[in-house]
Structures are given as C-alpha cells and as structure tokens.
C-alpha cells in the first residue's frame, strides 16, 4: 500500500472507510465525524504536510443511501505529493465540517459546492451562493435531478398563426 495511506490507516483506524490508489492518485474516504480531525492531521503531520488546497468538489450519487460525496484535493509544496480526501453525506442532513479554518482558500471553493450541490458547511464564515444569483430558488444545478436540457418551458410557448405585421 502507498506509505501515506498506511500512515493514515494506522493513525485513524475507526474513521477511515476506504483507501484507494488508482492511476497514481491516492484517495482516502473518511466518515463525516472524523473529517476535520483527518484534515487537520493531513495539514500538520510532518509526513503529510499538505499545506496547499487544490480544489473542493462534490459528486451526486442519487441511488446511494448517502447521496452526496464531498471531495477535497490537497498538495504538499515541500513534499510534492497529492492526496484526495472524501466523505459522504445523506440528503436528509447534508452538512459537513468546513475546512476554512485550516486552508483559507477553502472559503470560495466550499461556497461553490454549496451553490452547485446544496451541501452546507458547518462553521463556514460566509456561506452564500457564489455563481448563481443570491435569490435563485430553483435548486442546485449540479444535482443529477436538476434537468440537463431545460425544464420544458420552451415547449409551453404559444405560437402565433401569423407573424405580427
């Protein structure tokens, strides 16, 4: 197994759900409760040293019990290594801990995830929509149940018999 994954598993036996390595990408899936603890470890542990946040993303799996997957990607400038941290949340209670206290760049990235997928971040300083308008009420665009090709409005237009003169 990858040495990073080994070390994570030894430190957090209970909270770690899955460890994968595919195409050279190392990924850790943790339970929602241990997320902040693991993230802190990733940043502060001298073997990990992940000081750079790459992106925060989310994936919608509508058929799963825990529907949403939140994904963070970190890089270590000194150690030149990457890791992906993932956690799952159910639709009924889609809240995860914000990591803005550890990486300041997480602020905008988490706002985007909230905007696009509707996942709330606990302790986020300014959780508002970022790309969609503030008063947008039609849901969260990147969810799989948000229609991909319009909402059928264009089928409801009335056609005039004659072009107005």
């Amino acid at each position: 197994m990858h040495p990073l994954l080994d070390r994570i598993q030894q430190t957090f036996s209970a909270g770690v759900i899955g460890l994968t390595e595919w195409r050279g990408d190392v990924a850790v899936t943790v339970s929602r409760n241990t997320l902040h603890e693991v993230a802190q470890f990733l940043r502060d542990d001298p073997w990990m040293d992940f000081d750079y946040i790459v992106h925060v993303s989310s994936v919608d799996w509508p058929d799963d019990e825990e529907r949403f997957e939140v994904v963070w990607e970190f890089y270590s400038i000194r150690k030149r290594q990457r890791i992906r941290l993932k956690t799952r949340v159910p639709e009924s209670d889609c809240v995860v801990d914000s990591l803005t206290d550890l990486w300041r760049g997480a602020d905008f990235m988490e706002r985007e995830v909230y905007d696009m997928m509707g996942i709330r971040f606990r302790n986020h300083p300014d959780l508002r929509r970022i790309l969609m308008p503030d008063d947008y009420t039609e849901g969260y665009p990147l969810r799989k149940d948000f229609p991909l090709r319009g909402k059928g409005w264009r089928d409801t237009f009335e056609f005039l018999d004659e072009a107005p003169r």
Binding site: V54, H55, V71, I77, R104, D107, L131, L142
Partner: protein, 414 residues
C-alpha cells in the same frame, strides 16, 4: 472657502500648536461602492462591492457568476470528445492550454500514451499560447494602470502568433487543436519556418516592452509594494502560477510533475521575493524568455513520427481519411455520438497553464460520458484571495489587483 452645513463641521488646526486641538468627532462614514459589473478593468463581467474608508479599501466582496454557463453540467451531457470545444470557452484568450489540460486529464483516465512527436508539438503550441497569454496579460495590466503604449506593442506581436494559429488550425481564439491521444494536425514546414522567424524576432521585443515599464516611475509606483501577499498566505489560499511564484514559492507543475516534452527541455522557473505586483510582472516577463527557449529546444529535438496515439477505439481518425474512407467516417461518427468506453474511476490532473494550475477532476462510471467533471480554474481560486490582498490599499489599486491575477471571467465563472 469652507463649506459648512448642518452635518459637517470644518475644524481648523492651529498651525502653531497642531497637537493642542484634540480633533473631536469628525464625521466618518463608510462608503459602499459597486465596482462593475461593467467596468473596463474587471476583465469581464465581475462586480466587486468595495467598502471604503476614504479611499482605502476596508473590505471587498466579489460578486461573480455573470458569465456562468454551466460548463460542468454540459460536460455530463456530451462525450469526452465533444467537450473539447467547450474548454476553449473557459479561458477564451488561451484556448490551447485549456484543450491541453483537458486532453491530458482524459488521457490519464484512459491511461493512454501519446506518441513522442505529438508531445513535442503539444509543448510547442502550449508555449506559444503561454507567450500569447502573457502578452495579453501585460498589455491589459499596463492599460489598467494607465500605460497605453505597451498595449499596442504587445498586440502587434500577439497578432503574428494569432495568425500563426489561424494557419495551424483555422481559428485564432477558439482553436480546439488538441485531441485526446494526440493533436489534430502536424506543423507544416512553412509554419515551422514562420515560428523560427518569430523566435528570432521576439526576444528584442520583450526588451522593448520592459523599456516602457521598468524605468517608468508611474509603473514602479503603482506596482512595487502593491497587493503584497506572503508566501504562507498564498499557499493557504491555493494561489498558483506566477501569483504564487511571486511570493517566493517555487511551484511549477512543468518542473515538479513533469509532463509532455517539458522534462526533455532545459528551462528555469523564475521565482520572486517580495510577493508584490512588480514581482509577478517580472516573473511573467521572464517566462516569455523561457518559453522562447523551450520552443527552440523542442523544434531542435523533434523527430518525425505519428501525431496520434495508436488506439482506434479512442482516438479520432485523420481528417483526410474521414472524407475518403467509409470505415473512418463511421469511426468518427461513433466516437462523437456514442463516445468510447472509459474505465470507471476518478482522476485529478493538474496542468500549469499560464494563469496557474488548471486542473480537471473527472469521475467516470464507465461509458462514453463523464459522470462528473470538475474544473479547477485558477482565476476562481485567485478571486478568493482578493479581499485579503486588497485590504488597506487604495481604490485605484483594485484595478491593479484584478490585473495581477490575470483573471478571465469565462474561466472564473465557467
């Protein structure tokens, strides 16, 4: 003549004893100013709500999304090949590098090897694009600060390269020349000649750009010590590219996660010291010289060979065959309409575009379309640090900071 009304009182300080007058409650009030969404210095449609104390910025809140077109959602509806033209429209002044970053990500997902000549061609064109990007940045930044002349000089030389792109792929801005597994067509001897001529012509022109700025007191005054960000903060905010290197952090994916033909070229990565706007300017100008170096080396080292990976189930057939051969046409049609069968899994692949780290995170569940595609856009991440970097500077420095990020709103809002 002092103007007095009921709300404002003008206090006069005795010049003999300035400290004697305890300045009482001078009326201060924070001013809220909307900058944008239509403002020439915001590089697209962006609004920033500035909270001002006098002319000082106390807090700035970017309001984005005016150019949001739902590119990530669109990606879920099309095949992998169909998404390439969408990437052009992300950072529309540097389409080639977006294509490059996307194709690399899909190749990582497929574990596809690109032939050597294609890697060289990709590197050459990517560096030409980097030159264009930096020229565009330099002209826009100088214009924001008030230096008009550089703009014309940069655009004169940029035009040569855009014409070169036009000859290469038939488009100046939205190029779509990269393909998954290789490139669309080879460089003709004529194009190589033209590029070589440009490489001889260009370095003296970079010196020329610098002459306009490096001894210009206005330029120095408005860039030195403006929008300083420490290395620690820059890393914590996830800044990348010249903005991060300006703070003295040596982070360049071309060097440290080498890809394409970069490991075979010798080039250096300029790193700044002070983390101010001037250092970021200096880095970009130095990168112009480095790009010229990289292109030269690639042209020398490049050997004849195929320009597309030998994987017919994934890669498109050459265009000439599509028009003359029935099987090739069917193959092209099937690849575009149904796509190829990507293995299930997820990857992240970052590429050093000229703005910073442009990354694609792709989740595949098999089949011809990506299940989820996330774009890590450097402009978006940089905007996250705007409030931090602008705090305490003057309102006119806000324009400088937009410029120093090199933001393009098409990429920021996606």
């Amino acid at each position: 003549m002092a103007f007095e009304d009921q709300r404002t009182t003008v206090y006069k300080i005795d010049p003999e004893h300035p400290e004697s007058e305890t300045l009482p409650t001078l009326r201060t009030e924070e001013l809220l100013l909307n900058m944008g969404p239509q403002h020439p210095s915001t590089h697209g449609v962006l609004k920033v709500i500035l909270e001002l104390e006098g002319e000082r910025l106390v807090k700035s809140t970017p309001v984005m999304g005016y150019l949001h077109r739902g590119v990530e959602k669109l990606a879920e509806d099309g095949t992998y090949h169909q998404f390439i033209p969408h990437t052009d429209r992300l950072d529309y002044v540097c389409a080639m590098y977006n294509n490059f970053a996307y194709c690399r990500a899909v190749e990582k997902l497929l574990n596809l090897q690109v032939p050597e000549r294609a890697e060289y061609l990709r590197t050459i064109v990517a560096e030409v694009q980097r030159i264009i990007g930096h020229q565009f940045w330099l002209s826009a930044q100088a214009l924001d600060i008030g230096a008009m002349t550089v703009f014309f000089y940069c655009f004169r030389d940029r035009e040569i390269l855009l014409d070169w792109f036009d000859e290469l792929c038939g488009a100046r801005l939205t190029t779509s020349w990269y393909r998954i597994g290789g490139v669309e067509r080879d460089l003709t001897p004529d194009l190589i000649d033209k590029l070589k001529q440009f490489l001889d012509y260009f370095p003296p022109k970079i010196d020329e750009y610098q002459v306009f700025l490096e001894k210009n007191r206005i330029w120095l005054g408005r860039t030195k010590g403006v929008a300083v960000i420490s290395a620690e903060d820059a890393v914590s905010f996830g800044l990348s590219g010249p903005v991060l290197r300006g703070s003295g952090v040596d982070y360049d994916l071309r060097k440290y996660e080498p890809y394409s033909a970069y490991p075979k070229c010798e080039f250096s990565v300029p790193v700044g010291k002070n983390g101010d706007t001037y250092d970021r300017y200096w880095i970009r100008v130095m990168e112009l010289y480095e790009s010229v170096k990289i292109i030269r080396q690639c042209l020398e080292q490049m050997q004849e060979g195929p320009i597309m990976a030998d994987a017919p189930s994934v890669t498109l057939p050459p265009k000439e065959r599509v028009f003359t051969n029935l099987e090739a046409m069917i193959q092209q049609f099937k690849l575009f309409s149904q796509g190829f069968d990507a293995p299930p899994g997820e990857i992240y692949c970052g590429t050093e575009a000229h703005k910073g780290e442009l990354g694609f995170y792709i989740v595949s569940t098999g089949g011809g379309k990506p299940y989820r595609l996330k774009i890590r856009a450097p402009s978006f991440v940089h905007m996250g640090a705007f409030d931090h970097m602008a705090r305490g500077y003057m309102i006119s420095d806000a324009c400088t900071i937009f410029g120093t990020y090199d933001i393009v709103m098409g990429e920021c809002d996606r």
